[in-house]
Structure formats: C-alpha cells, structure tokens
C-alpha cells in the first residue's frame, strides 16, 4: 500500500508549470455571475418605464479589467427594454456579497426587510426600500446568486406577492409567467391549477410589441388566491403560453379597461420601444 501512495505522491508532485490563471478565473466568474444577475434583472426591470430599444439597462458590476462599475446591455424583447432617463440608472438597490449576505445599497432606507420562501421552495431576502427618492421592491436569492428589483408601484402587489412572482417565474429573463393559463390549438385559454377564468377575449390587439404576428394572444380576467387578476397572454416562440398578470385595482376594474390600458402600454413610443405591463 505504502509503495503505491509514495509512487502516486511522487508522480503527482512532478507537476509542470501551471497553466491555470486565477485572474482569468475571477474574470470568467464575474462574467458568469453578471449573466445570472442580468437574466433576473432584465426580467424584473421590464416593469421599469421603457423608452428605447437600444437604451441601456444599468446593472452594477465590476469590469474585470478595471475594477470599475460598468453598464451592461440587456437582451431586448418586445416588453423589456429600459430607460436612459430613469433616475435609478446606475443604482443597484441590493447586492449579494461573496460572504453570502444580502445587503441593501449604501444610503438605502429599508422600509421592510424579511426572509421569504416562495411556493417553489426558493428562499430569498426581500426588501421594500427607498433609495435616491424612489421606492423599490428588491430581493436577493443567495442559493442562485440572483438579485432583482422593481421601482414601485407594482400593480398594487404586496412585497410577498411580488417576491412570489419573481422567484417562481424561472431564469432566462422571461417577462411572462407560465403558471396561469395555456392555449389550446384554437387559441382558447384553459386555466392551470388554482386559477379560475372568468372572462377571456382572443386576439385583443395588443400589437407587435407584445407578440409576433400570427402568434396566439388573449386577454382574460381570472381569479387566483382570492384575488382578481387581468392577464395579457401570448404564445411564445417555443409554443408555451405566457401570461403577464395585472392585479385588479381601483383604476382598472373591467376586462375592457384592462385591454385598453394594455394596448396603450404596448403601443410603440417615440423611441421605438414600448412601456409594457412590467
């Protein structure tokens, strides 16, 4: 036995010069981390006022070459582009530190902070905070090194409702939620578990900023978790059904009012983008 161990030790110790560059690992790790955060942040920030398709979404991070904060370009989608005039540009309300702690940005006034466990088991630290004159909901999910935030108001959602929505909709920057309804092959909506459809309208005319021509679209009024929601629904390129929920409030009380509102939100603006519902 000992002869084998000694031999092994001798051979493994005779290592040639290393080709492993720690600096390269740090740079690649930062990029990987940033991609993860962007995937989440791009989805969350789709709720932010949208101006131009090419506008910059600002997510803090260090440039591996300079160590300075940099601006990232997010993937654009019909609903998710960001603003250059948003006063939140350059602001990251929360960050996950490498020691695993989730902390609000320096200068942020924390209005509410809690541990939250989503229905899918995701655990996150959630915040309602004020920063540079704006209020945000934000979360940090340590297990996946993900953060996200949305300036208020958020369709009348409570912090827990917002966090549930963010944490359960998955990676990839998707702006819609696939857990509400599904289309059949005649563009009729069917409810998923826990959802009850009250009224639905096929092809509500939300425009090309909402869905590509030829793809099924619909609007619906539904009940879920003892609340009433309006949904803007579209078929995604992979054939799935994606809904963008809006919780019924004092401002929008009927499906017609929601359709009218959603049409305005998805109308092309002067900068070629659209506001979107999120």
């Amino acid at each position: 036995m000992q002869d084998i161990i000694e031999r092994l030790d001798r051979e493994l110790s005779a290592a040639p010069g290393t080709g492993v560059d720690i600096g390269r690992s740090v740079a690649a790790g930062r990029r990987a981390l940033r991609r993860r955060r962007l995937a989440t942040a791009a989805g969350v920030l789709a709720t932010v006022v949208v101006i131009g398709g090419a506008a910059a979404l600002v997510v803090g991070g260090d440039d591996p070459r300079t160590g300075q904060d940099v601006t990232q370009q997010p993937p654009t989608s019909p609903t998710a582009t960001a603003t250059t005039t948003d006063p939140a540009d350059g602001v990251v309300p929360v960050d996950i530190h490498l020691d695993g702690s989730v902390e609000p940005a320096t200068g942020a006034q924390v209005i509410e902070r809690a541990q939250f466990t989503a229905s899918g088991g995701q655990v996150a630290e959630v915040f309602h905070l004020r920063l540079d004159g704006r209020e945000y909901y934000a979360y940090g999910e340590t297990a996946d090194s993900k953060v996200g935030w949305t300036p208020l108001p958020v369709d009348g959602l409570s912090l827990d409702e917002w966090a549930e929505q963010q944490l359960t909709r998955g990676d990839g920057g998707a702006t819609g939620d696939r857990s509400w309804v599904s289309f059949d092959d005649r563009s009729r909506l069917h409810p998923k578990a826990g959802v009850e459809i009250g009224e639905q309208r096929a092809d509500p005319g939300f425009g090309e900023r909402f869905a590509a021509p030829g793809e099924f679209t619909a609007a619906a009024e539904v009940r879920r978790s003892d609340a009433t929601w309006f949904l803007a629904v579209r078929q995604t390129p992979d054939g799935a059904t994606e809904a963008i929920p809006y919780r019924k409030d004092d401002r929008i009380t009927t499906l017609d009012a929601f359709i009218s509102y959603a049409r305005d939100q998805y109308a092309t603006n002067d900068q070629g983008g659209s506001e979107g519902l999120r």
Binding site: M1, I4, I5, R7, L8, D9, E11, L12, S13, A15, P16, T18, G19, V20, D21, I22, R24, S25, V26, A28, G29, R30, A32, L33, R36, D62, G67, I96, H97, L98, D99, G100, S101, T142, A143, S145
Partner: protein, 164 residues
C-alpha cells in the same frame, strides 16, 4: 464584506489550492493540459458559488466535488469512449499502456473506472476518511471500500506486470 475583500478571500483560497486541485485533476485524467482546463472550470464555478460555499465553510470539499464531477463527466463523454468501426483492425490491440507508461502509476490509474480513480485519490493521496470520501463522491461508505479494494488490486496487478 465588500467586493475587494470578498474577492481577496476567493483569490487567496484559489491560489493556495490551485496546485493540489491540478494534481487531483491530473490523477483523474492523466494529462496536465486537460488537468489545467478542469481546474480552470472548477475555479470559475467556485467563484459563482463562493458566497454560500464560504459561508458554509466547505470550500475544499466543494471545490474537489466540482472538480471530480467535471472529470467524471468528461470521462463519460462519447469522445472519451471506444468508438464502433465498420472494419475490425487486423493488428492485435495494443497493450493498454505504452512502454514508457508501464511504470507510471498515474497512467495505470487511467485504466480504472473514473469513480475508482477518484476514490484512490481521495482516500490514499488526500488521506480522507471513508466517510469523507463517500460524502464527497455522493456514494455509500460500502461502495468506497469496495472501489478502493478493487482499485488497489488492479493497480498492483498492473504495476507488477510492468515491473516483471
């Protein structure tokens, strides 16, 4: 802890463990260049997971786990396996080890199944306990013992044949 000090902790860890990880990787794949690639991949994944890994105090085990999984995965890829051919070769199959490799223990290790290789490295080179090895490889302690026993006898046989 702000980013510079967080990264300093990561860099310190990565720098101090790089050589050991390279040696494990080399033991697993028998090629220093591929070993470097495996370590590089491991360190990037470790960076991403650093917050929770550092918090749990399991940096060494986690880094080795990533590395061994990557090496075992690589050994399972089709490119690493035998490939079917239309025509059988006329010549007899070459010996498993070349002349210069016959006395190399690392080369002999490469003839073992990947999990046996990992078991030998963790148990006998890193001197981990049966329980620690089982935890890192995600297998039972009994399997660790049987892997170790089979691997050591196979290595002895091969080295004895080479020395003869």
């Amino acid at each position: 802890m702000r980013r510079p000090s967080r990264e300093a902790a990561y860099v310190e860890f990565a720098t101090s463990r790089r050589d050991q990880l390279r040696r494990i990787a080399y033991g697993m794949c028998g090629d220093w260049h591929r070993a470097d690639d495996l370590v590089q991949t491991t360190l990037v994944k470790l960076y991403v997971a650093w917050p929770r890994v550092a918090r749990s105090g399991s940096e060494d085990a986690y880094a080795r786990k990533i590395l061994l999984n990557a090496a075992i995965d690589a050994s399972r890829r089709p490119a690493s396996r035998e490939r079917p051919t239309d025509v059988l070769p006329e010549a007899a199959a070459p010996a498993r080890l070349s002349v210069e490799d016959r006395t190399s223990l690392v080369a002999a290790l490469q003839t073992l199944p990947a999990q046996q290789r990992a078991t030998v490295l963790l148990r006998h080179w890193l001197d981990l306990s049966v329980a620690e090895t089982a935890a890192e490889l995600g297998i039972s302690e009994g399997t660790v013992k049987s892997h170790t026993s089979r691997a050591l006898s196979a290595l002895r046989e091969r080295l004895a044949a080479a020395d003869a």
